[in-house]
């Protein structure tokens, strides 16, 4: 596994970046934030069916591009950088899980614009990994799910939901169609308005079993890796914009960047972001080539990248000064995104406790 970006990966990055610069700039993000769906439908069609970005790591015979999650990670960084208000991350996580565990029935749709969502956490539970109370029972024509899920990312718009539930033996993972009978979804308002989430109530919802506890764990881990990659992109962009500000903003008769105290803080943030980026990239490589490492590497990547983003976003506010406190400036969007990533999918303390055995404790 070579962790430096290859020429092909750089080309992919540049193409996605320039496309998002045109189609998903700050104004577009704000329009999507205000839209009930939380997204620009035309852009979503372009990203999926047209460019095939949700199918990058889907095998060619299922309509995908046959690349790996390392290439998805390249896109995720750009998606994070643009704060793209679209269910890209959720969808590629579901695609990766289905490509590895599922029957392939849902995959062509996901490549072509259908939305995926992963439903893990349940109401009132603050543990991590989440405790699964949702129950799967065998009905006459297959599995039926009953229970509830809390603040499922992109759960409202999802065409395919992967739902963690307890079957007769253990945690397991099930696929549910968005229009399945017995499924009720209520949008949940988020502080990070570039995201959408929904609470789910499941009352005997027909479902297809994707896999057992290993599938549920794999899904959780891939979601953590995806969140990490996205966070790296947001953090790097927030830092670039902050450095631009330091380079151009004049105070006390000189550009801010000529103050060494600010330069040194920028250098420390750069170090944090690029170190985190290395870990995110390693984790993305592991999804494809060494999934047995995921139970350690995925929480590690989420922990490190969420922290790097939090550090950058907080300093981006401070280094921008008063303007950053206004609604018009993007700094609060990075900051809210950082808080979202930090507080969902396991707190730093929980993730470290999860990693304690790997650390020898």
């Amino acid at each position: 596994m070579d962790l430096s970006l290859s020429e092909e990966q750089r080309d992919l990055r540049d193409a996605v970046r320039s496309m998002l610069a045109k189609a998903a700039g700050s104004e577009a993000v704000r329009a999507a934030m205000a839209a009930p769906s939380g997204r620009d439908d035309a852009l979503w069609r372009q990203l999926t069916g047209e460019l095939g970005l949700t199918g990058l790591a889907v095998p060619e015979e299922l309509g995908g591009a046959g690349a790996t999650f390392a290439e998805v990670a390249v896109v995720l960084e750009e998606v994070g950088a643009a704060l793209l208000a679209a269910p890209y991350t959720s969808t590629v996580v579901v695609a990766e899980v289905l490509a590895r565990f599922g029957d392939a029935a849902f995959l062509p749709a996901l490549v072509d614009g259908a939305v995926g969502a992963l439903a893990l956490a349940e109401p009132g539970d603050r543990s991590w990994p989440p405790r699964i109370g949702c129950a799967a029972a065998r009905g006459a024509e297959g599995w039926l799910l009953t229970g509830s899920k809390a603040a499922v990312p992109d759960g409202g718009a999802a065409d395919v939901l992967l739902v963690a539930a307890v079957d007769d033996r253990d945690d397991a993972l099930f696929a549910v169609a968005g229009d399945a009978p017995g499924l009720a979804r209520v949008d949940v308002p988020l502080m990070d308005q570039t995201r959408r989430a929904a609470d789910l109530a499941l009352d005997g919802v027909p479902a297809v079993r994707v896999g057992g506890a290993d599938a549920a764990a794999f899904a959780r881990d891939v979601a953590a890796v995806a969140a990490a990659c996205e966070a790296v992109g947001t953090g790097r962009r927030a830092l670039e914009r902050t450095v631009d500000h330091l380079r151009t903003r004049v105070q006390f008769g000189r550009v801010l960047g000529s103050f060494q105290a600010l330069r040194h803080r920028a250098a420390d943030l750069f170090t944090a972001v690029e170190a985190a980026a290395s870990t995110a990239r390693y984790a993305a490589g592991v999804v494809a080539t060494a999934p047995e490492e995921l139970p350690v590497v995925a929480p590690l990547a989420k922990l490190v990248c969420a922290q790097a983003l939090s550090d950058v976003a907080a300093e981006a506010l401070q280094l921008h000064g008063g303007i950053a406190i206004t609604w018009e400036h993007d700094a609060h969007l990075w900051f809210k995104r950082a808080a979202h990533v930090q507080h969902t999918g396991g707190s730093p303390e929980q993730l470290r406790r999860l990693l304690a055995p790997a650390a020898g404790l």
Binding site: R126, Q251, A261, G322, A324, F335, A339
Partner: protein, 393 residues
């Protein structure tokens, strides 16, 4: 132990203000408890204006003004007691504090007798509200970078320019403004401290929507706005000195009251952690105790800076206190979110109804930027109190 020396009679004074607040805030103004704090400056404006008049009637405005003709010249200990009790009662955020705590001391120090007689009674009665026109959009932390100009035209100043981060501009009757009154002057020279009525065609107030989605601050545009020729405090051209002495008034006796508010915020978060299970996480519990510890340290530091020999013992008080409380409050916002856990991501409702924890988390980011940013405080400490060289321009 309150920590600051009390005189005979202080205990009775404490009882008096406590009882008065309890009566008022259980009666007509019961709905105002907890209203109008940081991040909630936009709430219940009419009721809070009435509350200011009630404070004025009862003689609770200007208790520290040293001139007994206008204020009550109470002792430092009694002023602290007032602020402590005010905070303890969760009495509402003050609409009149800029007039009372910034404008009035400035007039008492630099104003003419005529100015004192004309302006102080309205402040003291809680009927006239003031706002502050210092910061400008291009200046950032550099207060001396004043672009707003005032030209003397007969018996009036004509003011053109823009101020920003002006709290309460939309409810204020008057504004004090630093403007450049000498053409071609630079930096600290050639500035004047002018008093302008807000209700005039040359002034436009535009609220700034903040990251919370609410508005606490304003931009104020001056386009041929007018001040009377005599409404300059100190002398024309001497505005920098007047303005800077005002910054000195911002600190002081209200600190211990502010800390009672902080303690209440922390108690709420701690209680929440006990209820939702966050306190069972020993690492989070350790952070909660750290926050409590640092609050005690701030209290001890405030007591020290209110001591009799504080001017010699702690000349750095304003800068150290600002750094401590701003950073503490910002960390408290982060702690509040961590205690919420995954619920921290979810708001109370549409369109953008933040939870108390989210409001604290977001709004406290301004604490380290406004009122002298962390960077400015560090510069002042290093240059003035550690004797390190200034940055070369």
């Amino acid at each position: 132990m309150t920590g600051i020396a009390e005189a005979p009679g202080d205990a009775a004074f404490r009882t008096e203000i406590r009882d008065w607040l309890e009566t008022q805030l259980s009666g007509d103004f019961a709905g105002l408890r907890g209203s109008g704090g940081p991040g909630r400056e936009h709430e219940q404006l009419a009721e809070r204006a009435a509350w200011e008049r009630r404070l004025g009637e009862a003689g609770w405005i200007g208790i520290g003004w040293p001139d007994a003709r206008y204020g009550r010249a109470l002792s430092l200990a009694q002023q602290v007691i007032f602020h402590e009790e005010y905070a303890r009662a969760a009495a509402p955020g003050r609409l009149g504090h800029i007039g009372e705590q910034l404008l009035a001391p400035t007039l008492l120090a630099h104003g003419s007798e005529e100015q004192k007689q004309r302006f102080l009674p309205g402040v003291g009665s809680g009927e006239v509200f003031w706002c502050q026109g210092y910061s400008e959009p291009d200046a950032g932390s550099d207060l001396a970078n004043v672009g707003t100009r005032a030209v003397l035209d007969g018996d009036r100043w004509v003011v053109t320019g823009q101020k920003i981060w002006t709290s309460l501009a939309h409810v204020s009757d008057w504004c004090f403004v630093i403007a450049r009154t000498e053409l071609g002057s630079k930096r600290h020279a050639g500035l004047s401290f002018l008093l302008l009525p807000m209700d005039q065609p040359g002034i436009t107030v535009r609220p700034i929507v903040q990251l919370t989605g609410t508005s606490e601050f304003n931009e104020v545009f001056f386009d041929g706005a007018v001040a009377a020729a005599g409404d300059v405090v100190g002398e024309a051209g001497n505005g920098w000195r007047v303005a800077m002495s005002l910054l000195g008034f911002e600190r002081g006796v209200s600190t211990l009251g502010q800390q009672i508010g902080f303690a209440r915020e922390l108690e709420t978060i701690t209680e929440r952690a006990r209820v939702n299970g966050a306190a069972d996480d020993p690492v989070l519990a350790d952070r909660i105790v750290s926050a409590w510890v640092d609050l005690q340290v701030m209290r001890h530091t405030a007591l020290r800076t209110l001591g009799a020999d504080a001017a010699r013992d702690a000349p750095w008080a304003a800068n150290v206190s600002k750094l401590l409380w701003a950073n503490w409050h910002r960390r408290l916002g982060e702690l509040a979110m961590a205690v919420e856990g995954p619920a921290a991501a979810v708001t109370s409702g549409l369109p953008y109804e933040l939870t108390d924890e989210q409001r604290l988390f977001l709004f406290s980011r301004a604490d380290t930027i406004y009122g002298g940013s962390n960077e400015v405080q560090r510069n002042v400490l290093a240059e003035r109190h550690l004797g390190l060289p200034r940055d070369r321009a």
